[in-house]
Symmetry: C2
Amino acid sequence: MDAVDEQAVIDLLGVLSYAELTAFDRLAEDARLAPTLAGRAALARMAAAEIDHHVRLTARLTELGADPMTAMAPFVPALDAFHESTRPRTWLEGLVKAYVGDGLASDFYREIAAHLPDPDRALILDVLADTGHADFAVREVRSAIATDRTLSGRLALWGRRLVGEAVRQSQAVIAERDQLAALIVEGTGDFAGIARLIDRITGAHTERMETLGLNP
Amino acid sequence: MDAVDEQAVIDLLGVLSYAELTAFDRLAEDARLAPTLAGRAALARMAAAEIDHHVRLTARLTELGADPMTAMAPFVPALDAFHESTRPRTWLEGLVKAYVGDGLASDFYREIAAHLPDPDRALILDVLADTGHADFAVREVRSAIATDRTLSGRLALWGRRLVGEAVRQSQAVIAERDQLAALIVEGTGDFAGIARLIDRITGAHTERMETLGLNP
C-alpha cells in the first residue's frame, strides 16, 4: 500500500470509529424513550455492541501507528451535525433511524471497504454486520403500524428525511478528506461505477423501507 | 436452597440487573460531559462493560426460571430515585459518582452475595469486580484537583451527598423485599454482625474518598 492509500485506510477506520461511538451515544439516548424495560434493555445491548466495534477499530488504528483520537477528529462535525438534525422525538422514530439510517451508512462504508486489502477489509465488513438492530426494529415498527395506521405516513416521511440528511453528511465527510474521495473514485472505476454504487445503496434503502411497511 | 432463599437470590439478581442497566444509562449520559474525545470513549467503554454484566445476570435469572423484567421491576423506583437525586452537573461529579457511588453499592451487594451458594455467589462477585472505573476516575479527579484546589471542597461535599442518598436508596430496596432483608440478617448473624457490615462499608468508602484526594 502506498502512502496515499494508508491515509485513506486511516480515514475510513477513523470515520467508522467515531460513527460507532455516536451510534452508541444515540442508541443509549433512544433507550430512554423505550415504552418497556425489555425495549430499553434491548437498545442498551445494541449500544454496547457498537462500543465493541469502536474498540476493535481503534485498536487497528493504533496498530497502524495512528492516534485514534486524531483519526476520528476530522469527522466529528459532520457526524454530530447529522445526529443533531435527526434527533428522534419518539421511540419509533429512533428505531426507524437505527434500521434505515444505520443501514444506509453501513452500505456506504461497506462499498468503500470492499476495495481495501485485508485485514482492514475483513475487519470493517465484520463490524458493519448487523448486531440485531434489524430484526428488533422491524418487529417493533411493523407491530406499531399494524395497530395505528396513521403512523406509517409520518414514519415514511421521517425515513425520507433521514436519507436527505445522510446524503448531506456523506458529502461533507468526503469533501473533508481527499484520500477517502480518491479511494471511492478509484474503487468504483469511473462515474458509471459511482452511479451504480448509488443505485445499489438506493435500492437497498427502498427494500428496508418496504420491510418496515413504509412507503419509500 | 428452600423457597425463601430462592426468592432472595432472584431479588438480588434482579436488583443487580437493573443497577447495571442504570449504570450503563448514567455512564452513557456522563460520557457526553467529557471534555475530550478520549474521555468520552473511555466512559462509553465502561458503560458497555455494565451491559455485559446485565446480560449475564439476566441470563442467570432466565436459567432460574424467573422473568428478568419481572425480577427487575420492584427495584426500578428506588434506583431511578437515587439517580434522579444525584445527577452529576459536571464531568468530575460524574467520575466521583462512578467511583465513590458505585464502589459503595458494590460493597453492599458483595456483602450480601457472600452468603449465597455458588454459582450465584461467584457470578455476582465477578460482575461486581471493577471494570476500569476506578483507575480512570482516580487519575482524572486527582489531576483536576491538583490544578484547581477549590474543586476538592465541592467534590468532597458531593461525595457526602452521594452516601446520604445511597443509604436512603438501600433502605428503600431492603424495605421493599422481605426475603432480601432476611438474607442480610441471616448472613450477618445478628445486630452486631450488621454493625460490623456497616463499619466495613463505611471504612472502604472513607478509603476511596482519600484515594481521590477528598476529605471523607
